[in-house]
């Protein structure tokens, strides 16, 4: 589990004045769903809903770091949960930079976040996760980065090729690498820029494609540890 980006999310949100609770939640069901295991995914969805329902009823928003998990809440759960449960999860869940964008748009002080300057480059290249793009939420990350003063170039490949577990399957390994090549060459064209990627599997793929140490945008903009 990649805890760095979760901790960064907490630091960033708290700095922006948000009171954060980190609940222990069961898996979202993305893994079984991706394997066509619909009834297992359904079980997971119900389990997850049961674990967050009290928080939602208390009026909290659910902020999600991994885009494929958010896509479950906003899209896939429509097929897995009763309508009102789906609606309440979908309506109250946010991608972390979407949330930050909303806070800043509404007057939160973005100065608390890490902008360019010092040893931090102004130039970044951002690869948005495929499902994040489908949700239309890549724009919020770009919006936050630009508001902080970064110069952002966005990749335009449709997918990094890793796609969850796909690239780990032996029969699809070479295809996954071939798909990744397109992303690799775009990133190489932007050689001087810091690489940001919003999906865990995208980060893995980029890590294996080039030596550029990609980070999640929230880790990039979160205030450093006190």
């Amino acid at each position: 589990m990649n805890v760095g980006r979760g901790k960064a999310a907490v630091r960033a949100l708290e700095a922006l004045g948000v009171a954060v609770t980190v609940p222990t939640l069961p898996p979202s069901g993305r893994a079984p769903l991706s394997q066509g295991m619909v009834s297992t995914a359904q079980e997971r969805a119900s389990g997850l809903y049961a674990a967050v329902v009290d928080h939602l009823r208390a009026g909290k928003d659910l902020v999600v770091v991994e885009p494929s998990t958010l896509a479950m809440f906003r899209n896939d759960y429509e097929h897995l949960l009763p309508a009102e449960r789906f609606d309440s999860l979908a309506d109250n869940s946010y991608e972390v930079l979407e949330y930050v964008f909303g806070l800043v748009e509404n007057g939160a002080d973005s100065e608390v976040l890490a902008g360019p300057g010092g040893d931090r480059d102004r130039a970044v290249v951002y690869h948005p996760h495929c499902q994040q793009r489908t949700l239309g939420l890549d724009a919020h990350t770009v919006g936050v980065l630009e508001a902080l003063g970064y110069d952002v170039v966005t990749s335009d490949v449709e997918c990094c090729g890793m796609a969850g577990s796909f690239g780990y399957k032996s029969e699809y390994y070479e295809l996954s690498v071939d798909v990744g090549r397109a992303l690799g060459s775009q990133l190489r064209e932007e050689a001087g820029r810091r690489v940001l990627a919003s999906g865990t599997s995208c980060t893995d793929q980029i890590d294996s494609l080039l030596d550029r140490d990609p980070v999640h945008p929230i880790e990039f903009v979160a205030p450093s540890r006190a």
């Binding site: 999310a9 948000v18 954060v20 066509g36 295991m37 928003d61 948005p128 489908t134 032996s170 699809y172």
Partner: protein, 491 residues
């Protein structure tokens, strides 16, 4: 064969296709995908969404009223002097088409592009019956000459480079001067096809849409060959699926506005042809002006009525076969439809079609190429949830498989609710987040849980939301969708 062996076999097959076809497929699919983004940008995200909503609504209604529309179109076509035949399955359809050709003593048929005739195997059936069949769409001609199958819904010869096509033409036709450039190849094909069309007794087309009310078929092409095939022969056989029915001429308009953009990134295709019954213009060139002209509309069921009753597969029937889901798919861009394809249909939506008109085996063989990345979703003009269709078919494939001999004796001992026959690799990845961390230390978990919740409703999506925002091309550095939500701060 063990699943390890079959995995190695599959890997080898994918490698071979990547080597042989990958380059041409990548260039063509990415090119069309880029053009689609540009065409939609030009249309504007708002208008695009409006049109998608409209056509989705028309399709839902049309499939709902299918029995009624079938009766309407039969009456309308007969009024126009044509005939309608509704074929239950592929054999029924090809038998009928053969009998039409036999009744006309037809020796040769010229065809414009149609995936539905590929689905039912018209060419093979007619050739067996002694009728020569000539494809007149350039891509289809290439495929016919090479004796291959289409690798894309709208670009059958997608996987072939110009060099390969030149080699094929030079081998087959042995022209005085070897052909080389695209212009030379096209000019040669045009002359060759003009002769085939002149000789032909029957012209066969598909139909992109069929207007029930007027008995009109709509054909959308860029080569003009469909129109030529119809005008130059006395007998027109149009073959298409029953799902292509639209209620009225007016309901056709938004489809024509969208299909060129999502298919090829054109604001409109070059030829939009409407045909209602036998054409009454004199045959070109130099035909007998008094010759009898006939029109047969063959509407294919072949599993579609059953798909209509199937709550999950039904959505497939809304598909207008524009190919956008093929082009926007990262895996498809690499391997094309010869890997990511079934017996006839290719790409994301191909799974739904194959499951409906062929079988789960054909669908299951291609289904794994869909990773659920969801990039086809905003690309689809009729808003089909293509990733969900692929998930449902995968579930059916899992359930259809026989429980393996080494599987757990008691299903309750496994960490999921799945059928015992499920592929063990799928079961492993499907239960990934529940494995002890030692077993998955080789990778970071891809299915993380939500990280934080906060106490205050500090950010809200506007009601317009961005959940179904249209695609904004991120290639443009500043290109941001216009639909960025404007949250309201409540604390």
């Amino acid at each position: 064969m063990s699943s390890e062996e079959s995995r190695a076999g599959k890997a080898a097959r994918i490698r071979a296709i990547l080597d042989a076809e990958g380059e041409a497929v990548a260039a063509n699919a990415r090119h069309l995908n880029d053009r689609r983004y540009e065409a939609i940008d030009e249309l504007g995200a708002e208008r695009y969404e409006e049109l998608r909503e409209t056509v989705r609504g028309i399709k839902e209604d049309a499939i709902d009223r299918l029995p009624e529309l079938l009766a309407t179109v039969e009456a309308a076509v007969e009024d126009n002097g044509g005939e309608v035949y509704v074929a239950d399955d592929a054999a029924d359809a090809t038998d009928y088409i053969e009998s039409v050709c036999a009744g006309l003593d037809a020796e040769s048929v010229v065809k414009s592009k149609s995936m539905t005739t590929e689905e039912i195997g018209v060419n093979e059936a007619l050739e067996e019956a002694g009728v020569a069949v000539h494809e007149t769409d350039l891509g289809e001609l290439v495929i016919q000459l090479a004796d291959e199958t289409p690798s894309h819904l709208i670009g059958p010869g997608f996987h072939k480079s110009r060099e390969e096509i030149a080699r094929l033409f030079n081998e087959r036709f042995d022209p005085e001067e070897p052909l080389e450039t695209a212009d030379e190849l096209t000019a040669f094909a045009r002359d060759y096809l003009a002769d085939r069309i002149d000789e032909a007794d029957v012209g066969m087309t598909g139909a992109n849409f069929v207007v029930a009310e007027t008995g009109t078929i709509a054909l959308v092409t860029n080569e003009g060959n469909a129109r030529k095939v119809i005008e130059s022969t006395n007998h027109h056989v149009a073959v298409t699926g029953i799902e292509k029915l639209l209620p009225t001429l007016e309901s056709l308009r938004p489809f024509v506005e969208l299909i060129g953009r999502t298919a090829t990134g054109q604001s409109a295709a070059i030829y939009n042809t409407l045909v209602s019954g036998p054409v009454n213009s004199p045959p070109v060139p130099f035909g007998d002006p008094d010759a009898e002209r006939t029109f047969h509309l063959v509407l294919i069921d072949n599993g579609r009525r059953a798909m209509r009753e199937d709550p999950d597969l039904r959505e497939t029937l809304y598909c207008i076969r524009c190919g956008a889901c093929n082009n926007s798919c990262a895996n498809f861009q690499s391997v094309g439809g010869h890997a990511f394809g079934g017996e006839t249909y290719t790409g994301g939506i191909g799974t739904g079609w194959e499951a409906g008109v062929h079988d789960l085996e054909s669908a299951g063989g291609m289904n794994d190429f869909c990773t659920g990345c969801s990039r086809c979703e905003p690309a689809c003009p009729v808003k089909i949830d293509i990733p969900w269709l692929n998930t449902v078919v995968r579930d059916r494939v899992n359930r259809g498989a026989d429980p393996g001999e080494f599987d757990f004796l008691v299903e309750g001992l496994v960490p999921d609710d799945e059928h015992g026959g499920i592929d063990r690799q799928k079961r492993f990845f499907g239960n990934f987040p529940t494995l002890p961390s030692r077993e998955r230390s080789w990778s970071r978990c891809s299915a993380s849980t939500p990280a934080v919740t906060c106490r205050h409703s500090a950010a809200r999506r506007s009601s317009s939301g961005s959940r179904h925002a249209g695609p904004s091309h991120p290639g443009s550095r500043s290109g941001r969708p216009s639909s960025i939500p404007t949250p309201t701060r409540t604390t």
